[in-house]
Symmetry: D2
């Protein structure tokens, strides 16, 4: 019936040929990085090489954060009951919500309000001051700022530096940094956390906030795979997983050559 | 209680410092590719640059295959009911099983049987012949060979070429190619499909078969994000999704510059 | 640490004794119906027998609706890829959202607005008229009214009749019926669908709207189990599931003795 | 295309009429219990009233077991991150696997081996002795026997008593009881746990082992709903959920009137 017809602009598949956004997938393989391919499939065009590296850095930043995040606990709890790998990953994805991973989306919306002010002629500092005041007045926490473990989030600093190197830092990054300064001035110093830094970069790259937690899930899937493999190789089934009783016993600190 | 203590060798998190397998995550960002980071977190050591590129190519190969795979239909069906993005991705992951994506794992086990024969002194051709005969005698299909759409899978050829360039092609790749030759000699030509090529490469890189469908889910998450975004921007809620009524209307064929 | 302590009022488990809301579970077994037990665990008290029967009828009403609902398609699509039963059920649950099954929650909130008006002295007819007008002015559809297949939903009529028999029909049921009358008077006749009838009954029983889609999932799990069993026993793996090409070939119409 | 046509024998839906296995669903509502409806949809025929009550008792037995089961922890962990109810339930279903809830399926297969021996002329005691010896020789644990908390599982005794009252106890129940006796004679007393009792009853009722964990998920969904509601009403988001720090503060012990 005619009204069931629809169209997709993502991937064309005909016998012996697969094209993603027009490019042969076998030509993309080995020529573009995964970060570039992710940008391509979501935006329709290949990014420049610098933005590709930025995408990769953003995904690397989210690859793991140890055993305590609720999503990783969900993955380990599923694994200990005997769930297959894909079900463990699904359980992890289901634990990425407003309160965990979701700050990226909320922070993108917050920074967008600041970027609008900047576009209307305000300075980033002024826009940031207005946002901080508004959220304080509404008794809301600033998503993307502060961390339960880190007072300085090394991932954020590195990511913003890479964004600037790539020429991809725009008003959202500027507002994010201005909010940190405004908070410090106000006597309530909070670091930009990795969610906030990713939010600023994604927003300046033009991604929609609705996609934000997908990047986290994509990156963290690699971490979850490592946790499932470790759970199965080192632990007994049906154990009580106590996140506070876990010690790190991996390689000692070392530097990338 | 003492018996609740356990250990993890993946990531250490202390205030203001996160180390994955011993490396500072902010140092990894921008210095290693996502493919290298995935290898690192799963194997404990950084790979060489060539293997890193091979990992990336393998993930790019799996990024999307249009609207017909059952997992993508599961994602679109969830999206049309109003599911949030993470639930759509979870629904996709739950549709990656033995019959869809699972051929990688099964093929890894098949090729391992062949590689054992090669290690014991047989040629790849002889090992392949024995495997083909054994599976035929048992009336089993060869996982990783044949495709419902493609008689020549361009992804497989590209991936094996990259594996050889990287010096990473070993007995599993040799046996996979020998199986294709044996099938052709036997009058039943079947291509090595992308699952089979990924299986050969993962096995020669030393990955465990149990992780196989995780790589597929990780890569395809990017594709699923694109399908969810497209579903929400172009279609009405609660539509009947008929995979055979979908036309491609994206960019025309083009080449990577 | 002290701040990790918490409490639960649902079930106490000590060696050889399990009590749900204070009652021994082995004493509940065989003495109360599942509908009564569901009411007990959610509300903390056993309902009267009539409300127990009403709960059971509500759950029976949701047990299945054939092969076309998106959640059932999600279940079948997972099953055809080889997913285990629990993953098929999870895929089904993930497809129960705002646009599918979610009308119960939305309708409960709508009827609550009507019931507030009734509590403030309006008649149900007046409250219903106000709601219909308000939703029309806002160009919103009325959740719980209308059905893509049925112009008369037999489940709704039966459920409201049972609610009245049980003495459990209150202002939410009255407003729901008044909305049907108001729509008919306005020339736009729409039946109360099963979601709307369940919404009215749940609301008059005092359940929170947030729990609404849980009842649907609970009931439909039985239907999904039947669909998985049928898929595995009658169909080949990895088939294309076309909901419009399915014929019914079960028992002919018959009456409950 | 002709080869896309298929059939389902479960539910027929035509405008204004829904029939489950031939019966009008509105006629089933209020006339049959949920247990009878579950039996009907899975087996194709309504059971007698006694079997219906047994089905209900079996489902009531599984409705909850406090906060420590891994599936309930998965549900609570999802809820604390802000997941919607259906995603919490899906996360719970994904944690029901071989090591948790899966003993029902494994025990059904074990008892089937015993029932075959009984059908071939052995006594239940002899069949049980052979099974215990075989599993001991293979160093396998007996699924359905023993419990980490209970040395006497009150649910099992009640369920078998109800099965006998219903005239539904057959060779699987007999073998299950004979295994308990054989273990006690062998000096290794283990109770029949609720998984084992459900396994025996389901097997004597003629259900397929593949469906076993579906009954658990169906029943436990009600418990999971209660845990989500309690988590949201009593706890803060993103808390660390320590199962050993939870006290019961619900109603004191009481009896069903």
């Amino acid at each position: 019936m005619a009204d069931n017809t629809w169209a997709s602009a993502i991937t064309s598949v005909v016998p012996n040929q697969i094209r993603v956004r027009g490019y042969r997938i076998d030509e993309l393989m080995g020529r573009v990085s995964f970060g570039e391919a992710v940008y391509l499939i979501l935006r329709g065009e290949l990014p420049g090489a610098a933005v590709g590296r930025l995408m990769e850095a953003m995904i690397v930043a989210s690859i793991d954060h140890g055993v305590t995040p609720p999503s990783t606990l969900a993955v380990r709890n599923a694994a200990t009951t005997g769930a297959p790998l894909n079900a463990c990953i699904a359980a992890g994805a289901l634990a990425v919500n407003r309160h965990h991973g979701g700050a990226v989306e909320d922070c993108m919306r917050l920074l967008a309000r600041g970027a609008e002010r900047v576009a209307a002629g305000e300075t980033a500092a002024s826009a940031a001051g207005a946002l901080v005041a508004a959220e304080k007045a509404a008794a809301r926490r600033l998503p993307g700022f502060g961390h339960r473990v880190h007072t300085y989030d090394p991932r954020s600093h590195r990511l913003l530096a890479l964004a600037k190197e790539a020429g991809a830092a725009g008003p959202h990054v500027a507002v994010a940094e201005a909010i940190v300064a405004a908070l410090a001035r106000g006597g309530k110093a909070l670091p930009l956390n990795v969610d906030g830094a990713i939010a600023a970069v994604l927003a300046d790259l033009g991604f929609a906030p609705e996609l934000a937690n997908g990047f986290f899930i994509l990156a963290r899937t690699a971490g979850w795979m490592a946790h499932v493999a470790e759970e199965l190789s080192r632990e007994k089934p049906m154990r009580r997983i106590d996140q506070q009783s876990c010690a790190y016993d991996g390689p000692p600190p070392r530097d990338v050559a």
